[in-house]
Each structure stands twice: as C-alpha cells, then as structure tokens.
C-alpha cells in the first residue's frame, strides 16, 4: 500500500523510530498533494519548505513524524494564516495556537493549511477567497463546510489526519459529505487559544480522520485545560483509546422523533435507519426521544452566532495586520478596508449581527435568541437523563452541486439543521460514515453524547465502524 493511504495509527507503526520511513511518508504525501490537489483544492497554504524545516533529528512522542493538516483559522507561527479571507492575506502569526503547540510537543509535523469558508461562514467551502474545495467523491459537488479542506484532504488521502473547527456543524457536515470521521468535542474540551474567533461561545476545534480510532488518538493529544483559554474546562482528559473495541450491549440510544421530518433526503433516512438497526443487532436498546425545540436551532444560531461574529470581526480594520486600503483619514480607511476585504457572506453576517445587537433590537432578537438557546440546552439535559447517546443524520442531504445554494443563504443555512443544536448546547457530537447514496456520495451518521463523554461516542462509533467497514471504500481520483 502507498504510504499516503495509511491511517494515523498505521502511519505511526510504519514510521516507528525510523527517520527514513518518516521521510518516505512525507515525500509520498507531498507527491499525492501535487497529483490530486489541483483538482480538489483542499489546501490553501502548502509549501514543502515548511515541512522539511520541521524534520526533527529524533523521533519521539505519540505522533512522532506524523503529518497533520490544519484548517486555515488556526494560527501557526511564521506560517501565513488567512481564514480564507482577503482581509487577512499576508498575515503571518507571531505565535502557535495551543493545539499546534500540543501537536508539535507530540512529535507531529504540521503538513499544510486547509481551505475553508471565509472565517468559517458557510456550509460548502464556496465562500473561500481561494475558490471552493471540491468533493473527492464527485468533483462537481461541494466538500461541505466550513472545514471542507480538512475533510477533503483526509478523504482524498492528501493528509493522514486533519484538524477543523466547528461552530454550527463545520467539522461534522463536511466529514459527512466527504465520508470521513469528524468530531466536535464538548465546548471547553479543547483550547481555543489561537483559533481565530467566529462565535466564541460555540467554536470548538476537533479532529477529521480516516477512522474512529485515529480520532481518539488525536483528541488525546489536543484535549485539556489551557490557562490561555479561560473557557477551557479543568476536567481531566481520559485516554480516549481505552473506549475503543468495546461492545455496546445494554447501552441506551435515543432517536429524536423530530429528526425524521420533511426535508430529510430519503436515501439519508434509509442509511440512518439501517444504522439504528445495526445498533439494535449489536445489543443496544433503542428508544424514541424528543427534542421539542430543535426546530428553533437554526433561527437561534443565526442570531447568536452572527452577533458574536460581528463583534469578533470588529478587529479587522487595516491597522495592525492584513489588508489595508489607504484613505485620507482613519475612519474612511476602516470602511474601505472592510468593504474590500470581506466577501459577501462575511458582510451578510456582520450586518445581521450588528443589527440584532443594535439599540431597539437587542432584546427582541439577541436576548430572545439566548433564551431559546436555554430551551434547546434543556431539551438535551432532559433526554440525557434517559439515554446515553443520541443518533441521527448529520446533513439532510448528501453533497450538493457547487453553486446550487450559493445565492440562497437561507437554504444554505438549513443544511446545518441537524448539527447546530450540539453547538448551542455545548455537547460533543461526531459524524461517522454510514453508507452511500445511489450516485456514490457518502452519508454520515451523527452520534451525540453528554458533555465531556466523548468516550461514549468513541465506544459506539468504533463498534459500528468495525461492523460496517464503510471507511474501507475510497474515492477514485
């Protein structure tokens, strides 16, 4: 097998302590990127020079010599970081994000920076200033978003594993559309220090990988409290790989009745229902549950997330870094820099966020949204008194065509209808492959657990993966 096809676990065994094997792996991946990525466009900043400069003379740590790709919204010292936006072009961060430091401490090689929707605003990777990432299973289709590059590079074997970020589904939805494993950890599980902020109360970094086991290995490395992120939780990190390879007998799985409604594609529904049957056969007990406020989650999100985004994006003004459009006075410079630097979706969200926070509308929209968020969170609290895990779809449809939804923001927003609630409630959720459409596009299954119980997700997802082996199918590129 070509080394670029290896899972993270296999790559670790392949490299061992052998520097020449490490180089063989890195060279094979670079060749694979050059061969495949011109068609997929998963990478925005890729430079083999950056890779060779990280070649340590000694291999140590749990990820020794293993290349990991990074979404372009996590800062890497000395390496251009743009959030796929014109306004940050040329920004060279002076420090490493905490996740990058942890990866380096574990011996990993930072391999490349992945494409994304501009500032993570989107569900298709089409709002990127670098052009869309294409779906490796069908190049006319979107990769999903916003972590589309991270999902597509893992699916197309131009990465061993990648990190993405998830504010309303941005890890899980592209993972589902590209047929890889994507985990959004519990809010507070992974430090956000050095993650360029979108919605600070919702954002969370997580792994996109070829297998469930790889996801556990990577979460082991990046999870934990960080004094540089006061919202990171001081809760011990278990060894997530200890949850793998266990059976699911006696586990209680809830199926929200609100999930199977109009708008859910029949092939997705069929694949999810077949997965439920698999869990039954594996000895789990299945119960219908209710999340009565789920239907409000998209509306809440497009108040709360845009409010936070408009505030977070206030800092891009052309003064200290990135794009500047020179004008005769300071205020005109701000206005012109922001107009030219931000793309259409970023402007939409900044304007909407500014509006819902403005005098006269703050209570009617923003506070109302926060109160509805409480109701959504209480739904989960109640359901998790009865079950250990919730399963359902990730995306209402398989990957859609590039351009199909770009002019209709609302229809694009609704593609996150199954994923947003987990961010609003702060609970962990994973997308794991559960089949293919008739046209050969991947379908993902979502597993949602109680806060800080990622272990339950790993246990259940690994039992499912071992039974179904969907991960063995690869796109032809």
């Amino acid at each position: 097998m070509e080394p670029y096809r290896l899972t993270l676990k296999q790559a670790r065994e392949f490299v061992g302590k052998d520097l020449s094997k490490r180089d063989q792996l890195l060279d094979a991946l670079v060749r694979r990127v050059n061969d495949v990525d011109p068609r997929v466009n998963a990478y925005v900043h890729f430079d083999p020079k950056h890779i060779s400069s990280q070649k340590q003379a000694e291999l140590k740590g749990p990820l020794a010599g293993i290349p990991i790709s990074i979404k372009d919204n996590m800062v890497i010292k000395g390496w251009e970081t743009t959030c796929a936006s014109n306004i940050l072009k040329g920004f060279i961060p002076p420090y490493d994000a905490t996740v990058i430091r942890k990866l380096r401490d574990a011996g990993a090689v930072i391999f490349g920076k992945c494409n994304m929707d501009e500032f993570a605003f989107g569900s298709s990777c089409e709002t990127s200033a670098f052009g869309p990432t294409r779906n490796p299973w069908n190049l006319d289709c979107v990769s999903g978003g916003s972590s589309g590059g991270s999902a597509a590079c893992v699916a197309s074997d131009t990465a061993i594993a990648a990190l993405g970020s998830d504010t309303g589904g941005s890890i899980r939805q592209p993972a589902s559309l590209c047929g890889v494993v994507g985990l959004k950890p519990t809010y507070g599980r992974v430090s956000r220090y050095g993650l360029i902020a979108f919605g600070s109360s919702l954002d969370q970094i997580g792994p996109l990988t070829k297998t469930v086991e790889d996801s556990a290995i990577l979460l082991n490395v990046i999870a934990g409290h960080d004094e540089r992120d006061s919202t990171s939780a001081e809760i011990p990190v278990p060894d997530y790989t200890a949850f793998l390879g266990k059976n699911v007998k006696g586990l209680k799985i809830g199926i929200p009745k609100e999930y199977f409604v109009k708008g859910l594609d029949s092939e997705v529904e069929k694949a999810v229902r077949a997965a439920i049957k698999v869990f039954q056969d594996l000895g789990a007990s299945i119960a219908e549950v209710s999340l009565p406020h789920m239907k409000y989650s998209v509306a809440v999100y497009y108040i709360v997330a845009v409010a936070e985004a408009s505030s977070n994006l206030g800092r891009y003004d052309g003064v200290q870094y990135g794009l500047r459009c020179e004008k005769n006075n300071l205020v005109e410079m701000y206005f012109e820099t922001r107009d030219q630097g931000f793309g259409a979706e970023a402007k939409r969200r900044i304007l909407l966020g500014t509006f819902v926070l403005s005098a006269g509308y703050y209570d009617a929209y923003y506070v109302k949204g926060l109160k509805a968020r409480t109701l959504i969170k209480q739904d989960f609290d109640r359901v998790f008194e009865k079950v250990d895990l919730i399963i359902g779809p990730v995306s209402p449809t398989p990957a859609f065509k590039i351009g199909e939804k770009l002019d209709d923001p609302l229809s694009m927003y609704l593609s996150d209808i199954y994923t947003i609630a987990a961010n609003l409630a702060g609970v962990p959720a994973m997308s794991v492959p559960c089949g293919f459409s008739l046209t050969g596009l991947p379908i993902g299954l979502q597993l949602t657990a109680k806060p800080f119980e990622e272990g339950t997700i790993f246990r259940v997802a690994s039992a499912y993966e071992a039974t179904m082996k969907w991960n063995e199918r690869k796109p032809e590129l």
Binding site: I92, S201, T231, R338, L351, K368, L370, A372, R373, L410
Partner: protein
C-alpha cells in the same frame, strides 16, 4: 415583528462602506433571514433565563505575572504601515 432594515444605518454601525450595487441584494437577504428568525416569536420565553455560555464558569482568575513575549518586532513586521516601533495610520484628528 416590524423590522424593515435600514441598510445604510446598519452598514455604518458595522463600518462597511457598501457599494450601491451590493446594497439591494444584502438588504433583501437580511429581510429573508429575519423573517425566518421570527419563528422564535411563537415561543413563550417570559420565564426563561438567557444562556450566553454553556459552561458554568465565571470570572476565571490567575496570578498576574510579567513575562517576556519577545514578539514586538515580529508583530510590527506584518504591519501594513509602520514607523519605527509604531503602527502608522492616516491622520485621526482633523485641522492639525
């Protein structure tokens, strides 16, 4: 809820100098999104506390300590315009 968006006013608050050709589409998009968001009005939230943050964390303190960051030059290196150790911007105060 009546919410005819005044796009010029919101753009001013957001510090965006929208081009005339951008305004029509953006304001239509915003109206559509707000119409959808009005779905929330059917919820009775009179007895519900708002959730701005899911973790029960308040006022996280740590010891204040002086450390060397060593990034001053690095930070200024990518300034769009600098003057020695300062960021340079256009004139702020008129009439000087």
């Amino acid at each position: 809820m009546e919410s005819k968006i005044n796009i010029d006013q919101v753009a001013k608050l957001a510090r965006l100098s929208l081009k005339p050709e951008e305004k029509g589409k953006l304001s239509k998009d915003l109206e559509n999104i707000l119409a959808y968001v009005d779905l929330l009005q059917e919820l009775d939230t009179s007895k519900v506390e708002p959730t701005s943050h899911v973790l029960p964390i308040e006022n996280v303190f740590r010891k204040d300590k002086v450390i060397e960051s060593g990034v001053r030059n690095f930070v200024l290196d990518h300034a769009p315009k600098r003057d020695g150790k300062f960021f340079k911007v256009p004139k702020v105060i008129e009439g000087l």
